[in-house]
């Protein structure tokens, strides 16, 4: 405690404040990087394109399981139901992980496709190519 009372003690407090501010700065930076990498915009685009490529590579009467754990967790955190995440309209796949926006991408195969969440505990999405239109 004697250190705190004298002039040298003041320097110590300044150093401690400086150190705390540095740690705070680094924490904010790491949180920012983590948020950017697992953000809705990045995941929406990634999964929409992933699903489109799966459909384009697939053939009729194929069932594909896609693990979407991180996307489902994020969507549920944002108040969306699992059924609302992937929508296929015509030949366009839309992935929505937050209440606003969503990302759409189209495929070239003229097939009838349905997408629905897996009922099992695993956070998968099932993509069925039912047949040619």
């Amino acid at each position: 405690m004697s250190v705190m009372k004298n002039n040298r003690g003041t320097i110590l407090i300044e150093n401690v404040v400086f150190l705390i501010l540095n740690i705070l700065f680094l924490t904010i930076l790491i949180l920012f990087l983590y948020k950017q990498g697992s953000g809705a915009i990045v995941l929406e685009q990634s999964y929409a394109k992933n699903i489109v490529l799966l459909i384009d590579a697939g053939k009729p009467i194929m069932e594909m399981k896609l693990n979407m754990e991180d996307a489902i967790n994020l969507a549920e955190k944002n108040g969306l139901k699992r059924e609302e995440i992937v929508k296929i309209t015509g030949n366009t796949v839309t992935v929505k992980l937050s209440s606003n926006g969503g990302y759409s991408y189209s495929f070239f195969k003229d097939v009838d496709v349905t997408a629905y969440p897996d009922i099992s505990t695993e956070k998968n999405y099932i993509i069925n190519i039912n047949g040619y239109k």
Binding site: Q36, T89, N91, F108
Partner: protein
């Protein structure tokens, strides 16, 4: 000069300098992250390959040319054949078609003159493939060509050349 002489003043100046460095570093990291995550994933190269595979599956099965294209040792001039390939190039998200494919059939003895050419999609993008041959620009379309051999029902050999073109630049490249 007072600041340099005074030890505490020197520390304060060091702190300000240190924070300035931190701000510059933070600014750099923010800018890099913004550029990295703001750039869309470019999947057009995979899409062109998938398009070519889909066309190839439609033209030939088990090493034999589709019977709607070849009969009694000759190719049938069925120029609308690609409409039977279950391909849809229109989409609600684009005003124009973003795909193009062209198939050329060559006799194995004459690889210069095409016997039959089939086309489907928006042919405006083909000219950009020519530009890409000399100058690679990601803002342009992605083009890919693949060739394979196939037989007709009379065992005549053909070389089939397929060109696949995908544009979709706005969704795959930061313009």
């Amino acid at each position: 000069m007072m600041i340099i002489n005074n030890k505490r003043g020197g520390d304060k100046m060091l702190s300000a300098y240190w924070f300035a460095v931190l701000l510059i570093v933070a600014g750099g990291i923010f800018a890099m992250v913004y550029v990295y995550y703001g750039t869309p994933y470019d999947v057009r190269n995979i899409e062109t390959r998938l398009l070519i595979n889909a066309v190839a599956d439609c033209l030939s099965y088990d090493g034999r040319i589709n019977s709607n294209l070849a009969s009694e040792g000759n190719l049938i001039q069925n120029t609308n054949f690609l409409n039977q390939c279950h391909l849809i190039f229109n989409s609600s998200e684009w005003k124009d078609e973003q795909y193009y494919t062209e198939v050329s059939f060559y006799k194995i003895t004459d690889l210069e003159n095409s016997l039959l050419t089939l086309k489907k999609g928006n042919n405006n993008w083909v000219s950009q493939c020519e530009i890409q041959k000399t100058e690679t620009s990601k803002n342009l379309v992605q083009c890919s060509t693949k060739m394979f051999y196939s037989l007709d029902n009379s065992n005549n050999q053909y070389l089939i050349k397929i060109l696949g073109v995908v544009r979709k630049s706005e969704k795959n490249v930061k313009i």
